[in-house]
Symmetry: C2
Subunit: 456 residues, 2 copies
Amino acid sequence: MKKLLLFLLLSPLSMIAQSNIDSIYIKNISNEILRNGKAHDLLRILTKEIGGRLAGSPQFSKAVEWGASALKNAGANKVFLQECMMPNWQRGGKDNAIIIQINKNKTSRALDVLALGNSMGSGGKPVIAEVIGVADFADLEAKKELVKGKIVYFNYKFNPTNIHPFTSYGEVGQYRRNGPSAAAKYGAVGVMIRSLTEATDNNPHTGATAYDEAFPKIPAVALGGYDADYIWELCNKTAITVSITTNGHFLPDAKGHNVVAELTGTTYPNEYIAIGGHLDSWDVNEGAHDDGAGIVQTIEVLRTLKALGYQPKHSLRFVLFANEENGLKGGLKYAEEAKAKNENHIFALESDEGGFTPRGFGFTMSENQLAKVKAWLHLLQPYGTETLNMGGGGADIGPLKTAFGTALGGLIPDAQRYFDIHHARSDVFENVNKRELLLGAVNMAALIYLIDQYGL
Amino acid sequence: MKKLLLFLLLSPLSMIAQSNIDSIYIKNISNEILRNGKAHDLLRILTKEIGGRLAGSPQFSKAVEWGASALKNAGANKVFLQECMMPNWQRGGKDNAIIIQINKNKTSRALDVLALGNSMGSGGKPVIAEVIGVADFADLEAKKELVKGKIVYFNYKFNPTNIHPFTSYGEVGQYRRNGPSAAAKYGAVGVMIRSLTEATDNNPHTGATAYDEAFPKIPAVALGGYDADYIWELCNKTAITVSITTNGHFLPDAKGHNVVAELTGTTYPNEYIAIGGHLDSWDVNEGAHDDGAGIVQTIEVLRTLKALGYQPKHSLRFVLFANEENGLKGGLKYAEEAKAKNENHIFALESDEGGFTPRGFGFTMSENQLAKVKAWLHLLQPYGTETLNMGGGGADIGPLKTAFGTALGGLIPDAQRYFDIHHARSDVFENVNKRELLLGAVNMAALIYLIDQYGL
């Protein structure tokens, strides 16, 4: 037995023997994370002691300090901050929408709304107007003559028959981003949208909108599911008047930071592999899944590799990105700095689809690179990864591709619950499961290990 | 194009063309369930209007009535009840455990406990004794001389490094089932166990114990995670005395019923395929995942096949089984009746591992049958099924195998969260996600469709 072991260790390593070594190493990674993982405890602190941390908020600055400290504690060789200027959108107070007239009867039925991120407020007084409901952009076009002076309500829904909720999110996202200006183009004075969710509750979901500078920046709010159903039914059968008061505005850009930790490579110190998530979140929740999960998984991967005494071949960067939600200034800054210092990034991995049970990774890379990655599938399958396919990455690491042609990967968790809580008040610590969160980190660490060992 | 279609339809159906037809039919099943599924609404009624429904309770009888009505509404050709006698265990009141002495100091620290199902109460007065902590059965053996007159605490934990939580459950289950009698054998007067969970809360988890008739039936309770940690630490460093009061007892066996619906087969009416879950639950929660989910998925499969106008070749049975949790009398009764009437069951499917995102099915069948099922993998993969492997079934359908050699299958959902809520107060409707629940039904309906079409 000893002789066999010696033979296996000393002979030119066959691929099978190497695969066994990798399999054992990955099992060690998994055991370390599932036994001693700190991700869930770190997430409790980030969500409960710091909370929502929109770019420009005091909480964001607190999160930067916390992140630097957590990365140091996890064993980074060095931790540094990268300063960047971030948009500083302020919600400015409570968002209100009230139905004040149904048919010709006065009423006062409050709707549960959240102003869309980056949207402008109603100017210190309510916007009061009749509501015109539209099913989608085509319906808006058909009714464009009727829109002037009205509040447009977009009822576009998630398609429940898509098995993967991100497909549905991709379809409806345009209404949050472009709905306000599409309506303003025809003279609308305000916009309401159905929240981007299939949740069976009435929580409204915020998220960034993007005004077209050519049109007035009208107030825009999202409705929860029950209120959306109610408004749609009502405005299809009678005239209703709604009063919207929002307070969104921008302060001068705020100073923010990416938090970056490094494990310096032993063989290729000038070739980098980055792994990260975004540190900012919306203001209305704890940013637990979005993207506290990605942050604590990133720290967990670092902690685990250090705990196992892993000496990476490439330099590994663990990045807590600033300002993904409403500006992407952190991701842009990281790539810009890397480019300026000629820090060639061969691969970058992001976790920003929630801390749910992992089911695979999606990639933006060459077919040859993907073929190499797919050959590792059997090593990841025991931990829940079932697909390693083309298509994926992450917003924050996207600029690295532009800068270096970096190959990108994104963790794909089981996202059936994601849009129940995404950008809503319900994205809180209690809705993250410890084992699911840790298993994401297991798969991430295993993938990083394989890419570090064998390159792409 | 039309000619090609005609050719495909009229030519002796090639396997590929048939596979396309199946693929389209399964997509129709999926669309029907994800658009119009009633499972989530039915679960709300079962959990919120009926609630916990232990065998023998008035709620169980109410659930039988509700189930018969729900199956009729879903479109069954016929619905009938099968009477069976069920054990009638009563918790009998609030379970209490209090630390009353630490070292030599009096104290009064309440522990959050639940008596194990089928366990006997403390006889109208507390059992008061010193606690001896043991890590496992081997440790109990080592300390057997010290056990007499004591309360034994079993600290055996879930192994967090198992990727599949049912593996860990399988390992720890013996402490709940056999722990009380193992301790009584050496003269213990009471037992406490660490709950069978890794949950990050302090909820105790009940579940059936099984006394060995050779030894006294001593009171037995489960502790939540925090209290378990506390007791283990404490009893390893000092003497502690605990007072346990429980009230478990059996009333005479109660009349119960399986609820059975049928879609009669058009080609093989005398060959049966059964699909089911169990209608009973523990008394301390709403039985939402365990097994409300399996119940409403079963009804959903029936509703969907009827809504699509499906004419099954075999007779399909939709069974809401009685008394899985503490007796299995429903499953035994169903197989007994089927055997008496010579209703040959070629396949039975159970859903009793929670209403989470489906990831596959496990089977107990011949290798040849499994090979046939595996050939359908590509048809199920778009809906989340990734594995069709040997190993699986369900407690309620097990007796069919004994009776007919029936091939068995069990839905395998993603169970990472299951043992957080399993048999605990937290198994409530709010912890079931609508999309995850419906996707389980999609995969179940698709599998039943394929087996009905092609047999095994």
